[in-house]
Amino acid sequence: MSTAIQNISLSGKKKQVSNKEMTFLERLYLIAIVKGLWITIKHFFRKKATIHYPEQVRPFSPLYRGRHMLKRDEQGRENCTACGLCALTCPAEAISMKAAERQPGEEHLYREEKYAEIYEINMLRCIFCGLCEEACPKDAIYLTISKELVPAQYHREDFIFGKDKLVMPLEMAIANSKKQN
Protein backbone atom coordinates (compact mmCIF):
# COMPACT_ATOMS: atom_id res chain seq x y z
CA MET A 1 0.00 0.00 0.00
CA SER A 2 1.49 3.24 -1.04
CA THR A 3 -0.49 5.51 1.25
CA ALA A 4 1.79 8.42 1.80
CA ILE A 5 0.79 10.78 4.54
CA GLN A 6 -0.18 13.36 1.94
CA ASN A 7 -2.85 11.11 0.46
CA ILE A 8 -4.63 10.19 3.68
CA SER A 9 -7.88 11.96 4.32
CA LEU A 10 -9.08 11.45 7.87
CA SER A 11 -12.25 13.48 7.47
CA GLY A 12 -13.00 12.07 4.05
CA LYS A 13 -13.49 15.62 2.78
CA LYS A 14 -10.06 16.14 1.33
CA LYS A 15 -10.10 17.83 -2.03
CA GLN A 16 -7.25 18.26 -4.43
CA VAL A 17 -7.00 21.93 -5.40
CA SER A 18 -5.28 23.11 -8.51
CA ASN A 19 -4.17 26.47 -9.78
CA LYS A 20 -5.16 25.83 -13.37
CA GLU A 21 -6.33 28.66 -15.55
CA MET A 22 -10.09 29.14 -15.58
CA THR A 23 -12.02 28.53 -18.76
CA PHE A 24 -14.07 31.30 -20.31
CA LEU A 25 -17.30 30.04 -18.79
CA GLU A 26 -15.75 29.90 -15.37
CA ARG A 27 -14.36 33.39 -15.72
CA LEU A 28 -17.83 34.71 -16.48
CA TYR A 29 -18.82 33.76 -12.92
CA LEU A 30 -22.44 33.73 -13.96
CA ILE A 31 -22.76 29.97 -13.59
CA ALA A 32 -21.10 30.12 -10.20
CA ILE A 33 -23.48 32.89 -9.15
CA VAL A 34 -26.51 30.90 -10.27
CA LYS A 35 -25.22 27.89 -8.33
CA GLY A 36 -24.78 30.07 -5.28
CA LEU A 37 -28.28 31.45 -5.65
CA TRP A 38 -29.59 27.90 -5.85
CA ILE A 39 -27.84 27.02 -2.60
CA THR A 40 -29.20 30.04 -0.77
CA ILE A 41 -32.73 29.57 -2.03
CA LYS A 42 -32.66 25.97 -0.83
CA HIS A 43 -31.92 27.31 2.63
CA PHE A 44 -34.88 29.67 2.29
CA PHE A 45 -37.30 26.74 2.38
CA ARG A 46 -35.43 24.66 4.90
CA LYS A 47 -36.74 24.02 8.40
CA LYS A 48 -35.58 26.75 10.74
CA ALA A 49 -33.26 25.94 13.61
CA THR A 50 -34.53 28.72 15.86
CA ILE A 51 -35.84 27.93 19.34
CA HIS A 52 -38.37 30.61 20.34
CA TYR A 53 -36.79 31.20 23.71
CA PRO A 54 -39.30 32.35 26.28
CA GLU A 55 -41.96 29.99 24.95
CA GLN A 56 -39.63 27.14 24.08
CA VAL A 57 -36.74 26.24 26.34
CA ARG A 58 -33.88 24.18 25.13
CA PRO A 59 -33.48 21.13 27.41
CA PHE A 60 -30.31 20.95 29.45
CA SER A 61 -27.99 18.03 29.12
CA PRO A 62 -28.16 15.79 32.21
CA LEU A 63 -24.55 16.64 32.92
CA TYR A 64 -24.91 20.39 32.46
CA ARG A 65 -23.09 22.23 35.24
CA GLY A 66 -25.20 25.22 36.16
CA ARG A 67 -25.92 26.95 39.43
CA HIS A 68 -24.77 25.16 42.57
CA MET A 69 -27.19 23.58 44.96
CA LEU A 70 -26.59 22.47 48.53
CA LYS A 71 -28.50 19.26 48.91
CA ARG A 72 -30.87 18.16 51.64
CA ASP A 73 -31.38 14.49 52.46
CA GLU A 74 -34.68 12.60 52.38
CA GLN A 75 -35.69 14.05 55.74
CA GLY A 76 -35.03 17.57 54.62
CA ARG A 77 -31.80 18.05 56.55
CA GLU A 78 -28.82 19.84 55.05
CA ASN A 79 -26.04 17.50 54.03
CA CYS A 80 -23.19 19.98 54.34
CA THR A 81 -20.90 19.60 57.32
CA ALA A 82 -18.65 22.56 56.54
CA CYS A 83 -15.52 20.50 56.16
CA GLY A 84 -14.09 23.04 53.75
CA LEU A 85 -12.86 20.52 51.17
CA CYS A 86 -14.83 22.25 48.44
CA ALA A 87 -13.25 25.59 49.29
CA LEU A 88 -9.84 23.94 49.32
CA THR A 89 -10.24 22.28 45.99
CA CYS A 90 -11.80 25.25 44.25
CA PRO A 91 -9.29 26.43 41.62
CA ALA A 92 -10.92 29.85 41.44
CA GLU A 93 -11.16 30.29 45.21
CA ALA A 94 -14.79 31.19 44.88
CA ILE A 95 -16.12 29.40 47.96
CA SER A 96 -15.95 30.62 51.52
CA MET A 97 -17.76 29.34 54.59
CA LYS A 98 -18.05 29.59 58.32
CA ALA A 99 -18.79 26.50 60.38
CA ALA A 100 -21.02 26.32 63.45
CA GLU A 101 -21.97 23.62 65.95
CA ARG A 102 -25.39 22.07 65.80
CA GLN A 103 -27.40 22.94 68.89
CA PRO A 104 -29.73 20.43 70.52
CA GLY A 105 -33.13 20.62 68.88
CA GLU A 106 -31.73 21.40 65.47
CA GLU A 107 -31.35 17.75 64.44
CA HIS A 108 -34.17 18.11 61.96
CA LEU A 109 -32.28 20.92 60.23
CA TYR A 110 -28.75 19.61 59.89
CA ARG A 111 -27.66 16.04 59.35
CA GLU A 112 -24.18 16.35 60.85
CA GLU A 113 -23.10 17.78 64.15
CA LYS A 114 -21.28 20.61 62.42
CA TYR A 115 -22.90 22.70 59.76
CA ALA A 116 -22.17 25.71 57.59
CA GLU A 117 -23.50 28.84 59.16
CA ILE A 118 -22.41 30.94 56.23
CA TYR A 119 -21.76 29.39 52.85
CA GLU A 120 -20.98 31.76 50.03
CA ILE A 121 -19.99 31.26 46.40
CA ASN A 122 -18.79 34.17 44.34
CA MET A 123 -20.37 33.44 40.98
CA LEU A 124 -18.08 35.91 39.24
CA ARG A 125 -15.06 33.85 40.23
CA CYS A 126 -16.61 30.43 39.81
CA ILE A 127 -15.63 28.65 36.61
CA PHE A 128 -18.23 25.89 36.98
CA CYS A 129 -15.58 23.17 36.80
CA GLY A 130 -17.39 20.88 39.22
CA LEU A 131 -14.35 20.08 41.37
CA CYS A 132 -16.28 21.03 44.54
CA GLU A 133 -18.86 18.42 43.64
CA GLU A 134 -16.15 15.80 43.27
CA ALA A 135 -14.41 16.79 46.48
CA CYS A 136 -17.49 16.77 48.70
CA PRO A 137 -17.47 13.74 51.06
CA LYS A 138 -21.07 14.29 52.14
CA ASP A 139 -22.73 14.53 48.69
CA ALA A 140 -23.76 18.02 49.67
CA ILE A 141 -22.93 20.25 46.72
CA TYR A 142 -24.12 19.61 43.16
CA LEU A 143 -23.99 21.68 40.00
CA THR A 144 -26.10 19.34 37.91
CA ILE A 145 -29.42 19.25 39.73
CA SER A 146 -30.54 22.87 39.73
CA LYS A 147 -30.86 23.05 35.92
CA GLU A 148 -30.54 26.79 36.17
CA LEU A 149 -28.10 29.38 34.98
CA VAL A 150 -26.70 32.15 37.13
CA PRO A 151 -28.74 35.18 36.07
CA ALA A 152 -27.28 38.54 35.12
CA GLN A 153 -27.17 41.27 37.76
CA TYR A 154 -26.34 44.93 37.87
CA HIS A 155 -24.01 44.90 40.91
CA ARG A 156 -21.02 42.82 41.78
CA GLU A 157 -22.33 42.15 45.28
CA ASP A 158 -25.37 40.44 43.83
CA PHE A 159 -23.19 37.70 42.46
CA ILE A 160 -22.14 36.48 45.89
CA PHE A 161 -24.68 33.78 46.51
CA GLY A 162 -25.38 32.92 50.12
CA LYS A 163 -27.21 29.98 51.62
CA ASP A 164 -30.57 31.59 50.88
CA LYS A 165 -29.96 31.05 47.19
CA LEU A 166 -27.89 27.89 47.31
CA VAL A 167 -29.71 25.50 49.62
CA MET A 168 -32.18 23.20 47.98
CA PRO A 169 -35.74 24.44 48.52
CA LEU A 170 -37.73 22.42 51.05
CA GLU A 171 -40.46 21.61 48.57
CA MET A 172 -37.92 19.97 46.33
CA ALA A 173 -36.59 17.89 49.21
CA ILE A 174 -40.12 16.83 50.13
CA ALA A 175 -40.81 15.90 46.56
CA ASN A 176 -37.58 13.91 46.46
CA SER A 177 -38.44 11.97 49.60
CA LYS A 178 -41.93 11.24 48.27
CA LYS A 179 -40.40 9.96 45.07
CA GLN A 180 -38.18 7.59 47.04
CA ASN A 181 -40.96 6.21 49.19
Binding site: I33, L37, I39, H52
Partner: protein
Protein backbone atom coordinates in the same frame (compact mmCIF):
# COMPACT_ATOMS: atom_id res chain seq x y z
CA UNK B 1 -61.77 70.88 -15.40
CA UNK B 2 -58.40 72.38 -14.55
CA UNK B 3 -59.01 72.17 -10.82
CA UNK B 4 -60.26 68.60 -11.11
CA UNK B 5 -57.03 67.73 -12.89
CA UNK B 6 -54.96 69.34 -10.12
CA UNK B 7 -56.91 67.50 -7.43
CA UNK B 8 -56.53 64.21 -9.30
CA UNK B 9 -52.78 64.66 -9.66
CA UNK B 10 -52.33 65.78 -6.05
CA UNK B 11 -54.16 62.75 -4.74
CA UNK B 12 -52.15 60.54 -7.04
CA UNK B 13 -48.86 62.07 -5.89
CA UNK B 14 -49.78 61.65 -2.24
CA UNK B 15 -50.74 58.03 -2.87
CA UNK B 16 -47.47 57.33 -4.69
CA UNK B 17 -45.49 59.06 -1.95
CA UNK B 18 -47.20 57.03 0.75
CA UNK B 19 -46.77 53.87 -1.28
CA UNK B 20 -43.04 54.48 -1.76
CA UNK B 21 -42.62 55.15 1.96
CA UNK B 22 -44.53 52.02 2.94
CA UNK B 23 -42.58 49.94 0.47
CA UNK B 24 -39.30 51.31 1.82
CA UNK B 25 -40.49 50.65 5.37
CA UNK B 26 -41.50 47.10 4.68
CA UNK B 27 -38.35 46.51 2.65
CA UNK B 28 -36.41 46.85 5.89
CA UNK B 29 -38.65 44.22 7.41
CA UNK B 30 -38.41 42.03 4.33
CA UNK B 31 -34.66 42.43 4.28
CA UNK B 32 -34.36 41.12 7.81
CA UNK B 33 -36.86 38.34 7.19
CA UNK B 34 -35.20 37.21 3.96
CA UNK B 35 -31.77 37.38 5.55
CA UNK B 36 -33.02 35.26 8.42
CA UNK B 37 -34.75 32.72 6.19
CA UNK B 38 -31.69 32.33 4.00
CA UNK B 39 -29.65 31.63 7.11
CA UNK B 40 -32.10 29.09 8.60
CA UNK B 41 -33.39 31.58 11.17
CA UNK B 42 -36.86 33.11 11.53
CA UNK B 43 -36.04 36.80 11.85
CA UNK B 44 -38.03 39.46 13.70
CA UNK B 45 -41.32 37.97 14.90
CA UNK B 46 -42.16 39.75 18.14
CA UNK B 47 -43.73 43.07 17.13
CA UNK B 48 -47.06 42.18 15.61
CA UNK B 49 -47.94 39.06 13.67
CA UNK B 50 -44.77 37.76 12.01
CA UNK B 51 -42.99 40.93 13.08
CA UNK B 52 -45.14 43.07 10.79
CA UNK B 53 -45.01 46.01 13.19
CA UNK B 54 -41.22 45.85 13.36
CA UNK B 55 -40.65 48.77 10.91
CA UNK B 56 -42.89 50.98 13.05
CA UNK B 57 -40.99 50.00 16.16
CA UNK B 58 -37.69 50.68 14.39
CA UNK B 59 -38.90 54.07 13.21
CA UNK B 60 -40.05 55.02 16.70
CA UNK B 61 -36.73 53.95 18.10
CA UNK B 62 -34.84 56.04 15.55
CA UNK B 63 -36.98 59.09 16.32
CA UNK B 64 -36.42 58.69 20.04
CA UNK B 65 -32.67 58.23 19.80
CA UNK B 66 -30.25 60.89 20.93
CA UNK B 67 -29.08 63.06 18.09
CA UNK B 68 -25.33 63.15 18.00
CA UNK B 69 -23.39 65.70 16.01
CA UNK B 70 -19.70 65.53 15.34
CA UNK B 71 -17.51 68.53 16.01
CA UNK B 72 -17.61 70.06 12.56
CA UNK B 73 -17.71 73.50 11.04
CA UNK B 74 -20.17 72.30 8.42
CA UNK B 75 -23.25 71.75 10.50
CA UNK B 76 -25.51 72.86 7.69
CA UNK B 77 -23.99 70.45 5.19
CA UNK B 78 -24.22 67.71 7.80
CA UNK B 79 -27.98 68.29 7.82
CA UNK B 80 -28.26 68.63 4.05
CA UNK B 81 -26.66 65.25 3.29
CA UNK B 82 -29.49 62.97 4.42
CA UNK B 83 -32.08 65.43 3.11
CA UNK B 84 -30.64 65.20 -0.42
CA UNK B 85 -30.38 61.42 -0.19
CA UNK B 86 -34.00 61.12 0.85
CA UNK B 87 -35.50 63.63 -1.57
CA UNK B 88 -33.68 62.26 -4.62
CA UNK B 89 -34.80 58.78 -3.66
CA UNK B 90 -38.43 59.91 -3.57
CA UNK B 91 -38.35 62.14 -6.66
CA UNK B 92 -37.78 59.34 -9.15
CA UNK B 93 -41.19 57.81 -8.60
CA UNK B 94 -42.80 60.80 -10.39
CA UNK B 95 -42.38 59.42 -13.90
CA UNK B 96 -43.11 55.76 -13.29
CA UNK B 97 -46.21 54.41 -15.02
CA UNK B 98 -47.88 52.25 -12.40
CA UNK B 99 -50.58 51.13 -14.75
CA UNK B 100 -52.35 52.15 -17.93
CA UNK B 101 -55.42 54.08 -16.80
CA UNK B 102 -58.49 53.75 -14.63
CA UNK B 103 -61.97 55.00 -15.45
CA UNK B 104 -63.33 56.54 -12.24
CA UNK B 105 -65.87 59.33 -11.59
CA UNK B 106 -66.47 59.77 -15.30
CA UNK B 107 -62.91 60.57 -16.21
CA UNK B 108 -59.82 58.67 -17.29
CA UNK B 109 -57.16 58.66 -14.63
CA UNK B 110 -53.70 58.08 -16.05
CA UNK B 111 -51.71 56.09 -13.52
CA UNK B 112 -48.56 58.15 -13.82
CA UNK B 113 -47.75 61.37 -11.98
CA UNK B 114 -46.29 63.03 -15.07
CA UNK B 115 -45.58 61.67 -18.51
CA UNK B 116 -42.62 63.68 -19.70
CA UNK B 117 -41.02 62.80 -22.98
CA UNK B 118 -37.62 62.14 -21.47
CA UNK B 119 -38.64 60.29 -18.33
CA UNK B 120 -35.79 57.81 -18.55
CA UNK B 121 -33.27 60.64 -18.70
CA UNK B 122 -35.06 62.26 -15.78
CA UNK B 123 -34.46 59.13 -13.71
CA UNK B 124 -30.81 59.07 -14.73
CA UNK B 125 -30.45 62.71 -13.79
CA UNK B 126 -32.02 62.30 -10.36
CA UNK B 127 -29.97 59.18 -9.66
CA UNK B 128 -26.77 60.97 -10.64
CA UNK B 129 -27.60 63.80 -8.25
CA UNK B 130 -28.37 61.29 -5.49
CA UNK B 131 -24.69 60.68 -4.89
CA UNK B 132 -24.36 64.21 -3.47
CA UNK B 133 -26.30 63.11 -0.41
CA UNK B 134 -23.64 60.54 0.35
CA UNK B 135 -20.72 62.77 -0.63
CA UNK B 136 -21.78 65.87 1.27
CA UNK B 137 -22.83 63.90 4.33
CA UNK B 138 -19.64 61.89 4.33
CA UNK B 139 -17.48 64.95 3.95
CA UNK B 140 -19.31 67.06 6.53
CA UNK B 141 -18.97 64.29 9.11
CA UNK B 142 -15.35 65.31 9.58
CA UNK B 143 -14.29 61.72 9.86
CA UNK B 144 -11.79 59.76 7.82
CA UNK B 145 -13.97 56.68 7.48
CA UNK B 146 -16.91 58.75 6.34
CA UNK B 147 -14.75 60.57 3.84
CA UNK B 148 -13.44 57.27 2.48
CA UNK B 149 -17.01 56.04 2.13
CA UNK B 150 -18.02 59.22 0.35
CA UNK B 151 -15.09 59.07 -2.05
CA UNK B 152 -15.75 55.43 -2.82
CA UNK B 153 -19.43 56.07 -3.39
CA UNK B 154 -18.68 58.94 -5.75
CA UNK B 155 -16.23 57.08 -7.95
CA UNK B 156 -18.38 53.96 -7.97
CA UNK B 157 -21.53 55.82 -8.96
CA UNK B 158 -19.81 57.80 -11.69
CA UNK B 159 -18.18 54.69 -13.15
CA UNK B 160 -21.32 52.58 -13.17
CA UNK B 161 -23.52 55.35 -14.51
CA UNK B 162 -21.53 55.15 -17.75
CA UNK B 163 -22.11 51.42 -18.14
CA UNK B 164 -25.75 51.84 -17.19
CA UNK B 165 -26.25 54.50 -19.83
CA UNK B 166 -24.58 52.35 -22.48
CA UNK B 167 -26.72 49.35 -21.62
CA UNK B 168 -29.84 51.46 -21.91
CA UNK B 169 -28.85 52.90 -25.30
CA UNK B 170 -29.17 49.46 -26.91
CA UNK B 171 -32.65 49.18 -25.47
CA UNK B 172 -33.58 52.66 -26.65
CA UNK B 173 -32.46 51.84 -30.18
CA UNK B 174 -35.13 49.16 -30.18
CA UNK B 175 -37.92 51.07 -28.50
CA UNK B 176 -37.21 54.41 -30.15
CA UNK B 177 -38.49 56.41 -27.21
CA UNK B 178 -37.34 57.64 -23.81
CA UNK B 179 -40.81 57.71 -22.32
CA UNK B 180 -41.38 54.96 -19.78
CA UNK B 181 -45.07 54.91 -20.60
CA UNK B 182 -44.45 54.18 -24.25
CA UNK B 183 -41.78 51.62 -23.41
CA UNK B 184 -44.18 49.70 -21.22
CA UNK B 185 -47.00 50.06 -23.72
CA UNK B 186 -44.78 48.47 -26.39
CA UNK B 187 -44.28 45.29 -24.39
CA UNK B 188 -47.77 43.86 -24.62
CA UNK B 189 -48.31 40.19 -24.02
CA UNK B 190 -45.03 38.39 -23.68
CA UNK B 191 -42.99 40.77 -25.83
CA UNK B 192 -40.84 41.66 -22.90
CA UNK B 193 -37.63 43.48 -23.69
CA UNK B 194 -35.58 41.02 -21.66
CA UNK B 195 -36.06 38.41 -24.39
CA UNK B 196 -34.70 40.77 -27.02
CA UNK B 197 -32.00 42.43 -24.94
CA UNK B 198 -30.69 39.90 -22.40
CA UNK B 199 -27.19 41.38 -22.33
CA UNK B 200 -28.52 44.87 -21.83
CA UNK B 201 -30.65 43.56 -18.96
CA UNK B 202 -27.67 41.89 -17.32
CA UNK B 203 -25.52 45.02 -17.49
CA UNK B 204 -28.38 47.16 -16.25
CA UNK B 205 -29.02 44.80 -13.35
CA UNK B 206 -25.38 44.83 -12.26
CA UNK B 207 -25.26 48.61 -12.52
CA UNK B 208 -28.48 48.91 -10.55
CA UNK B 209 -26.82 47.01 -7.73
CA UNK B 210 -23.87 49.38 -7.90
CA UNK B 211 -26.03 52.51 -8.08
CA UNK B 212 -28.08 51.56 -5.04
CA UNK B 213 -24.93 50.69 -3.08
CA UNK B 214 -26.15 47.21 -2.38
CA UNK B 215 -24.02 44.12 -1.84
CA UNK B 216 -21.88 43.02 -3.65
CA UNK B 217 -21.10 46.68 -4.37
CA UNK B 218 -21.68 48.19 -0.93
CA UNK B 219 -18.14 49.46 -0.64
CA UNK B 220 -19.34 52.87 0.47
CA UNK B 221 -20.64 51.51 3.74
CA UNK B 222 -18.88 48.22 4.31
CA UNK B 223 -18.93 47.59 8.01
CA UNK B 224 -15.76 45.55 8.19
CA UNK B 225 -13.49 48.21 6.71
CA UNK B 226 -15.24 51.54 7.10
CA UNK B 227 -17.50 50.98 10.14
CA UNK B 228 -20.52 52.13 8.18
CA UNK B 229 -18.77 54.44 5.74
CA UNK B 230 -20.54 57.69 5.04
CA UNK B 231 -23.10 57.29 7.82
CA UNK B 232 -20.64 56.47 10.59
CA UNK B 233 -21.25 59.79 12.34
CA UNK B 234 -24.99 59.88 11.84
CA UNK B 235 -27.48 58.95 14.48
CA UNK B 236 -31.20 59.15 15.13
CA UNK B 237 -33.50 59.94 12.22
CA UNK B 238 -30.73 61.40 10.05
CA UNK B 239 -29.23 57.95 9.96
CA UNK B 240 -32.74 56.64 9.42
CA UNK B 241 -33.07 58.87 6.36
CA UNK B 242 -29.94 57.39 4.81
CA UNK B 243 -31.14 53.85 5.40
CA UNK B 244 -34.61 54.73 4.21
CA UNK B 245 -33.22 56.34 1.08
CA UNK B 246 -31.30 53.17 0.30
CA UNK B 247 -34.47 51.11 0.49
CA UNK B 248 -36.48 53.64 -1.48
CA UNK B 249 -33.78 53.53 -4.16
CA UNK B 250 -33.94 49.76 -4.18
CA UNK B 251 -37.70 49.91 -4.65
CA UNK B 252 -37.41 52.42 -7.49
CA UNK B 253 -34.70 50.50 -9.30
CA UNK B 254 -36.70 47.27 -9.00
CA UNK B 255 -39.65 49.10 -10.52
CA UNK B 256 -37.54 50.49 -13.35
CA UNK B 257 -36.05 47.08 -14.11
CA UNK B 258 -39.51 45.56 -14.29
CA UNK B 259 -40.79 48.38 -16.50
CA UNK B 260 -37.83 48.47 -18.88
CA UNK B 261 -37.26 44.75 -19.27
CA UNK B 262 -40.21 42.83 -17.86
CA UNK B 263 -43.17 44.52 -19.45
CA UNK B 264 -44.18 46.85 -16.63
CA UNK B 265 -47.90 46.54 -16.01
CA UNK B 266 -48.39 44.17 -18.94
CA UNK B 267 -49.36 40.61 -18.30
CA UNK B 268 -50.28 37.79 -20.68
CA UNK B 269 -53.93 37.94 -21.56
CA UNK B 270 -54.31 41.63 -20.85
CA UNK B 271 -56.10 42.30 -24.13
CA UNK B 272 -58.61 39.56 -23.39
CA UNK B 273 -59.21 40.96 -19.90
CA UNK B 274 -59.70 44.46 -21.35
CA UNK B 275 -62.40 43.13 -23.68
CA UNK B 276 -64.25 40.97 -21.20
CA UNK B 277 -63.80 42.60 -17.79
CA UNK B 278 -63.54 46.26 -18.67
CA UNK B 279 -60.83 48.85 -18.25
CA UNK B 280 -60.84 49.11 -14.48
CA UNK B 281 -60.45 45.42 -13.67
CA UNK B 282 -57.90 44.74 -16.40
CA UNK B 283 -55.72 47.67 -15.40
CA UNK B 284 -56.00 46.90 -11.70
CA UNK B 285 -54.63 43.46 -12.47
CA UNK B 286 -51.92 45.31 -14.42
CA UNK B 287 -50.96 47.29 -11.31
CA UNK B 288 -50.86 44.04 -9.35
CA UNK B 289 -48.69 42.46 -12.06
CA UNK B 290 -46.22 45.33 -11.84
CA UNK B 291 -46.26 45.02 -8.05
CA UNK B 292 -45.49 41.31 -8.19
CA UNK B 293 -42.62 41.92 -10.62
CA UNK B 294 -41.07 44.66 -8.54
CA UNK B 295 -41.46 42.63 -5.35
CA UNK B 296 -39.58 39.82 -7.03
CA UNK B 297 -36.73 42.18 -7.85
CA UNK B 298 -36.64 43.55 -4.31
CA UNK B 299 -36.39 39.96 -3.16
CA UNK B 300 -33.70 39.37 -5.75
CA UNK B 301 -31.68 42.29 -4.36
CA UNK B 302 -31.81 40.67 -0.92
CA UNK B 303 -31.20 37.21 -2.27
CA UNK B 304 -28.02 38.39 -4.02
CA UNK B 305 -26.92 40.13 -0.83
CA UNK B 306 -26.73 36.85 1.04
CA UNK B 307 -25.17 34.96 -1.84
CA UNK B 308 -22.30 37.00 -3.25
CA UNK B 309 -19.53 38.44 -1.10
CA UNK B 310 -18.43 42.04 -1.46
CA UNK B 311 -16.10 42.96 -4.29
CA UNK B 312 -12.66 44.37 -3.67
CA UNK B 313 -12.31 47.94 -4.85
CA UNK B 314 -10.00 47.21 -7.77
CA UNK B 315 -12.28 44.35 -8.84
CA UNK B 316 -15.19 46.75 -8.79
CA UNK B 317 -13.40 49.22 -11.02
CA UNK B 318 -12.19 46.45 -13.34
CA UNK B 319 -15.70 45.12 -13.72
CA UNK B 320 -17.12 48.55 -14.39
CA UNK B 321 -14.59 49.99 -16.80
CA UNK B 322 -12.98 46.97 -18.44
CA UNK B 323 -15.88 44.56 -18.71
CA UNK B 324 -19.27 46.24 -18.53
CA UNK B 325 -18.47 49.27 -20.69
CA UNK B 326 -16.93 47.27 -23.59
CA UNK B 327 -19.81 44.82 -23.30
CA UNK B 328 -22.27 47.68 -23.44
CA UNK B 329 -20.62 49.13 -26.55
CA UNK B 330 -20.54 45.69 -28.19
CA UNK B 331 -24.21 45.29 -27.38
CA UNK B 332 -24.99 48.62 -29.04
CA UNK B 333 -23.14 47.56 -32.19
CA UNK B 334 -24.86 44.16 -32.30
CA UNK B 335 -28.26 45.76 -31.78
CA UNK B 336 -27.55 48.26 -34.55
CA UNK B 337 -26.61 45.49 -36.97
CA UNK B 338 -29.70 43.49 -36.03
CA UNK B 339 -31.97 46.49 -36.55
CA UNK B 340 -30.39 47.16 -39.95
CA UNK B 341 -30.70 43.52 -41.01
CA UNK B 342 -34.22 42.79 -39.78
CA UNK B 343 -35.95 46.06 -40.66
Amino acid sequence: MESAFIIEKSIFIVVIFAFTMIMAMYSTWAERKVAAFLQDRVGPNRAGWGGLLQPLADGMKLFAKEEFEPDTKNRFLFFVGPAIAMSTALMTSAVIPWGDKLHLFGRDIILQATDIDVSLLYIFGIVSVGVYGIMIGGWASNNKFSLMGAVRAASQMVSYEVAMGLSIIALLMMTGTLSLKEISAQQTGFHWNVFYQPLSFLIFLICAFAETNRTPFDLAECESELIGGYHTEYSSMKMGFYLFAEYANMFISSTIISILFFGGYNYPGMGWALEHWGVNVANSIGIAALFVKLCFFIFFFMWIRWTIPRFRYDQLMNLGWKILIPLGIANIIITGICILVFK
